[in-house]
């Protein structure tokens, strides 16, 4: 039997706002409340039911970052428009890539299986991207309870990669209406230090470009899948490589204009007032632009951002292509030994 604590006389006048936890938990914390103090109480109850929050940025830290930005300086010494170094490493099998951007780290793995196609699209294979964040990336992410970032990320990847038809789904068809390849990209977020969107996009595209489908032969009703040791597997037909570039808007420069920063860290993301993601391929074709609210930005800035994104993507595209070629060379070097031992030459 639990004793109900007696309400403190000083809190008596707004007791009805936070007496029962159940009623306060369903209360929307953003709902205007007549008493500012009672609103704070509601928020506290609301958060105690969830996982620990990210540590909040202190005022001193905030001032430091914003003042530094005014002088075109960033805390980690980078230029305003420069990315952290992108490190790509591949695993033993095809379609597995480990992407690091500073302290941010994302793994992507592509897997394929043969399924029956959807009846309304008998010529097309399927491709799904699974982005589930867990507490490994940051204690504030909870299993089975997607955060806003989770939704934004899966939506953006969907728009950038799936809807821009980067992957030719018709090439995944084996027997019309009977059998198609079903591809799946599993993204694992290991460490979160900002810019998960760009990292996840680079990881997915690199893994897709690295993946090889086993060769199949169809004779009548039978489908034979040839193992890697028997026939050289074939790469996917990727039409282009859409790559996301996220701009974060925070602080002001000397002229009082909003500063846009590339590849923001977690600290900068916590301080930003708005963000915009532009997805471009190396030919400079914009696949997707998303700016959902936040600080108002001049149309001219937006144009500048898009142009800059196209420039950045050329570099990233080149980096991915080089990494893929190096891995291919390393794999082919001891080809037969590698096949026998089931392990690759390239060490991380």
């Amino acid at each position: 039997m639990r004793l109900k604590p007696l309400p403190h006389p000083s809190t008596n006048h707004h007791r009805h706002h936070h007496r029962t936890p159940s009623s306060s938990r369903i209360t929307n914390p953003s709902r205007p409340s007549p008493n500012p103090r009672s609103r704070e109480t509601v928020q506290l109850v609301h958060y105690s039911a969830t996982m620990p929050k990210e540590p909040e940025i202190s005022l001193a830290e905030k001032t430091f970052v914003l003042e530094a930005l005014k002088q075109n300086l960033r805390v980690d010494g980078r230029g305003i428009h420069s990315f952290r170094e992108i490190e790509l490493s591949f695993g033993d099998d095809y379609g597995f890539v480990d992407v690091r951007l500073g302290k941010t780290r994302v793994l992507a793995r592509i897997s394929a299986e043969i399924v029956k196609p959807r009846s309304d699209r008998p010529f097309e294979g399927t491709f799904t991207i699974s982005t589930e964040m867990g507490p490994m990336a940051s204690p504030s992410f909870e299993v089975g309870r997607p955060t806003d970032l989770d939704h934004t990320l899966s939506r953006l990847l969907e728009k950038s990669i799936r809807r821009s038809t980067a992957l030719d789904l018709e090439s995944l068809c084996i027997v019309t209406g009977q059998r198609v390849w079903s591809l799946r990209a599993d993204l694992h977020f290991l460490s979160h230090d900002g810019n998960l969107i760009d990292t996840a996009c680079i990881a997915t595209i690199t893994a897709l470009a690295h993946f090889r489908l086993p060769v199949i032969t169809v004779s009548g009703e039978d489908i034979t899948i040839h193992p890697v040791t028997e026939r050289v597997p074939v790469p996917l037909s990727l039409l282009h490589w859409p790559i996301c570039v996220t701009f974060s808007f925070l602080g002001e420069d000397e002229d009082g204009e909003v500063v846009c920063v590339l590849d923001a860290t977690a600290q900068e993301e916590a301080l930003r007032e708005g963000d915009m993601t532009v997805t471009v391929n190396k030919n400079g074709e914009v696949c997707q632009i998303s700016k959902s609210g936040g600080v108002a930005v001049e149309a001219e800035t937006l144009m500048k951002c898009a142009r800059m994104a196209a420039e950045k993507v050329k570099g990233i595209d080149k980096l991915i292509a080089t990494a893929l070629r190096d891995d291919e060379v390393a794999r082919n070097k001891g080809n037969l030994d590698w096949l026998k031992e089931g392990k690759s030459e390239n060490e991380r």
């Binding site: 105690s48 039911a49 996982m51 620990p52 695993g91 033993d92 099998d93 597995f96 302290k103 780290r105 793994l107 793995r109 897997s111 699974s130 589930e132 867990g134 507490p135 490994m136 990336a137 940051s138 204690p139 299993v143 799946r184 599993d186 694992h188 290991l190 460490s191 979160h192 230090d193 026998k340 031992e341 089931g342 392990k343």
Partner: protein, 260 residues
């Protein structure tokens, strides 16, 4: 580090954001696991224990979403950790373990994943500075009728386990072949598979055995079972591996960190 072919590749604290993390690659089965430990954290009110810390183990599969297999793995790890962690040191808190299967030969095989998961978890708990009663180590042993065919094994990975032999001289055939941390192909030729976990003091923490019918890759049983005295000898050997070699591996891995 000793360069024995049986010593796993261990990288400590690869994830800067968590309290303790570890990446572990089994040298023979090439299974790679990454675990992170956070704690003591704030606990959800419904999971709060009045005089113990709550341990949460989340196993994330490499492919697809977590299902029955991952739940089973996490419950096995949870019960092992419960007897290792001094939960009464941090009452009303949460110790959260997240294990990610990074790479595996067979993402569906429970015995191939369990040993690396357990060893990696224990190492990351040590790094995170979670108070523990003792440390443990796990080894996966596969029992075969014949030496593994067509598979290259590392030096010292295969050993023989004589049967009794006190009353009469036994022939070679009565010996059992045991393979340490086998890969999927060896497991496919095995009669039975045993994952044994012992603490530093030699206490049994977890024994997860299963019977395999040959050629099924550890997926089904053929009802042969195994002899209990054979099993005890096997467990004795497993205990030696865990208590001597396992503890040595932990000690060497943590040698230049002031954790012990």
């Amino acid at each position: 580090m000793t360069s024995s072919p049986l010593v796993p590749e261990i990288s400590l604290n690869p994830l800067p954001q968590s309290d303790g993390s570890c990446q572990y690659t089994c040298p023979t089965s090439r299974t790679t696991i990454l675990t992170s430990v956070n704690g003591p954290l704030e606990v959800r009110p419904k999971d709060e224990l009045p005089n113990h810390a709550t341990i949460e183990v989340i196993v994330k599969p490499g492919i697809g979403v977590a299902g029955v297999r991952e739940t089973r793995l996490s419950s096995l790890i949870h019960s092992t950790l419960k007897s290792l962690i001094l939960t009464n040191h941090h009452p009303r808190t949460l110790i959260q373990v997240v294990a990610q299967i990074v790479q595996a030969e067979d993402h569906t095989s429970l015995p191939l994943l369990l040993t690396p998961l357990l060893n990696c978890t224990i190492l990351s708990l040590l790094i995170a500075g979670i108070p523990m009663r003792t440390v443990g180590w796990s080894v996966h042993l596969a029992v075969l009728q014949h030496p593994p065919k067509t598979v290259k094994t590392a030096e010292g990975q295969v050993f023989r386990l004589g049967r009794g032999g006190e009353d009469e001289m036994e022939t070679e055939e009565s010996e059992q072949i045991v393979v340490r941390n086998p890969n999927g192909e060896i497991l496919g030729q095995a009669e039975s598979s045993h994952t044994v976990t012992f603490s530093k003091e030699g206490e049994v923490l977890l024994i997860e055995s299963m019977e395999c019918s040959q050629g099924s890759g550890g997926q089904s049983a053929d009802g042969q079972g195994w002899d209990i005295s054979d099993f005890l000898r096997l467990a004795e050997e497993g205990k030696r591996i865990c208590c001597e070699e396992g503890v040595e591996i932990i000690r060497e891995a943590l040698a230049d960190r002031k954790v012990f």
